[in-house]
């Protein structure tokens, strides 16, 4: 694919200055920057919460907090990390990069875009403010049900549940608005000549993500609306005491919850092949195979949800169906893995920070995928359900597969966004500290989980003490090492070596195949394409 772009000129003398610029902006790059900044702040807040949890788990017994507060911390940690850190990070990249990659002047619905972002901060406040209110004697703290809102605990819980229900409604509206914008942009704003099968893979990843969000967020919203009426308006949808069905809530929640895993991962699966091809200096392997695999995973994602609660007592045919359909996801996922490996195979590789994160991501996310296969087995799941094995598994998928993937994207696109190269030594230091401390945090959790240590309990048997101590120390190293990345991003925004248009050496020989962003200056002008590029 080759592209011709016309000269751009940076006419943004009419841009509002100061805070008003950020409140009123409809520019996709401004909104992308706000999403990414918000995501980083919430990532640090969510991380601080879980460090308190790990401090409590440093040794057996109760040292620092009451069990109720412990439960609140783990629930809000998950909600913050999923809804306020990972999803906004992916949306930030979508805002920044989709118009640039597709040759569009902006997102299709810019005002909706602004609104979608500004719903997020109030939702984040709603999620976390019950902690503060409790300090003043109002309510009993934040939601303590875990992120899953399981009934009947959530029907009986304190005001934290109400705050979380409202927050989820607002976050859901924001996500659906963002998804509609992505779908419309991809269908309606592509440069002439850019057919769907010529789109950058990131656009494909996001297109399927957006459809999954539109298909599943309304179900979650319906479930939590019914939860609200159960709590305050005398209904009994999920309250067994009144003839309701708590298991039904689990079905509704996980109809959203399982696709949510792919919603978090698909954008990363989109841009990762672009990183791999850049630093291998050869075109990505199996473009069509990857696109069809992404579509297959998106389709399977909505029909496998009940593997999250095999142990509630389902009929055997249901168990078998959900087991085999879950395992079927490993087929298209294996195609993706082979394509990623084939992309770097015999490539002229160099290991700048984005590539380090990308290769580390393949290995660590692979571990997450393989341990997921173990949990998909009905017989094995009966042993591992609700243990730390599950916690370790989903951190390999969501931290290594999600957040470390996002970090690869940050280092890959940061010079394009800021116009300055980041500090490579600090970037590599950040990678190695993160990769080593992440493994030291979660490998011990596999072992204590296999030995039967339950999750969501603030105390544990003496036999698990050593592994938990290692896990806690490593978690603090993992948390603190993220400050290296924060400093590196800050330095890159402030200044540094100027970045070229292609930024990375590998993009010279692959002009256009990663997307049209590399045809623009670094940083791109405020108004990206004053004339539409044409794809030949």
């Amino acid at each position: 694919m080759s592209a011709t772009t016309t000269a751009h000129h940076d006419e943004h003398h009419d841009v509002p200055k100061g805070m008003m610029r950020w409140f009123t902006t409809t520019n996709h790059k401004d909104i992308g920057t706000m999403y990414l900044t918000f995501s980083l702040i919430m990532f640090l807040i969510g991380g601080a919460m879980i460090l308190l949890v790990r401090a409590e788990l440093f040794e057996p017994g109760l040292q620092l907090m009451k069990p109720e507060f412990y439960n609140q911390l783990i629930g809000v940690h998950a909600l913050v990390m999923i809804f306020a850190a990972l999803m906004p990070a992916a949306t930030g990249f979508a805002n920044w990069m989709l118009p640039l990659q597709l040759g569009a002047p902006d997102m299709a619905l810019p005002r909706l875009n602004n609104w979608g972002f500004w719903l997020l901060p109030p939702a984040a406040v709603l999620l976390t403010i019950p902690f503060t209110l409790a300090l003043f004697g109002i309510g009993d703290g934040a939601i303590a049900t875990g992120w899953t809102f399981y009934a009947p605990l959530s029907v009986q819980g304190g005001i934290g549940v109400d705050f979380a229900i409202f927050a989820v409604h607002i976050l859901g509206i924001s996500s659906v608005m963002g998804s509609i914008n992505v779908i419309v942009t991809i269908f309606n704003m592509r440069a002439p000549g850019m057919t769907l099968m010529k789109m950058p893979m990131f656009a494909w990843g996001w297109l399927i993500t957006a459809f999954l969000l539109v298909a599943t967020i309304p179900v979650l919203a319906g479930a939590v609306t019914m939860l609200l009426t159960d709590r305050h308006f005398g209904t009994h949808f999920f309250d067994a005491a009144g003839g309701g069905d708590p298991i039904l809530f689990q079905h509704l929640f996980w109809f959203f919850g399982h696709p949510e895993v792919y919603i978090l991962l698909l954008p990363v699966w989109g841009f990762m092949p672009q990183i791999l091809q850049t630093f291998s200096r050869k075109p990505m392997y199996g473009y069509k195979a990857q696109v069809y695999s992404l579509i297959a995973i998106g389709a399977l994602a909505v029909v496998v949800w009940a593997h999250h609660f095999f142990t509630v007592g389902m009929p055997v045919p249901a168990l078998l169906y959900f087991m085999y359909s879950t395992m079927a996801i490993s087929l298209p996922l294996a195609v993706l893995f082979f394509c990623w490996i084939a992309t770097i195979w015999k490539g002229s590789m160099s290991f700048e920070t984005p590539m380090l994160f990308a290769v580390g991501w393949i290995i660590l996310f692979g571990i997450g995928g393989l341990t997921g296969l173990v949990l998909a087995d009905v017989a094995a799941d009966a042993q591992y359900h609700h243990t730390y094995f599950v916690v370790a598994h989903f951190h390999y998928t969501l931290f290594a597969g999600g957040i470390m993937g996002i970090m690869a994207g940050v280092y890959y696109w940061l010079p394009k966004m800021t116009g300055h190269m980041y500090n490579e030594t600090l970037g590599k230091t950040h990678f190695w500290l993160t990769a080593i401390s992440f493994n030291l945090t979660f490998i011990p959790q596999f072992f204590v989980g296999l030995a039967g240590m339950p999750r969501r309990i603030p105390d544990y048997a003496l036999q698990f003490a050593e592994f938990n101590a290692i896990s806690t120390v490593a978690a603090f190293v993992l948390g603190l090492s993220q400050l290296v990345m924060v400093y590196n991003i800050y330095s890159s925004v402030r200044g540094g070596k100027k970045a070229t248009n292609e930024v990375w050496d590998g993009n010279n020989s692959l002009a256009g195949s990663g997307g049209l962003e590399w045809t623009l200056p670094s940083p791109p002008p405020y108004h990206s394409f004053t004339e539409q590029p044409v794809i030949k």
């Binding site: 299709a108 619905l109 909706l112 659906v176 608005m177 998804s179 509609i180 914008n181 779908i183 419309v184 269908f187 309606n188 704003m189 002439p192 539109v214 298909a215 967020i217 309304p218 179900v219 919203a221 319906g222 479930a223 609306t225 019914m226 949808f237 069905d245 039904l248 509704l252």
Partner: protein, 44 residues
């Protein structure tokens, strides 16, 4: 993709109209699906 005899302004107008229609259809589907979820549980 676009009609050659249209000027740039008309093309842009058409594009905006199409964006709005696709957006409204998707938003309508999402809201209908939200209501349908609750209706299905209610009629269970």
């Amino acid at each position: 993709m676009q009609k050659n005899n249209m000027n740039e302004h008309e093309v842009e107008k058409q594009r905006k109209k199409r964006s709005l229609i696709i957006g409204l259809v998707l938003a309508g589907l999402a809201f209908a699906w939200y209501l349908a979820t609750m209706y299905m549980v209610l009629s269970k």
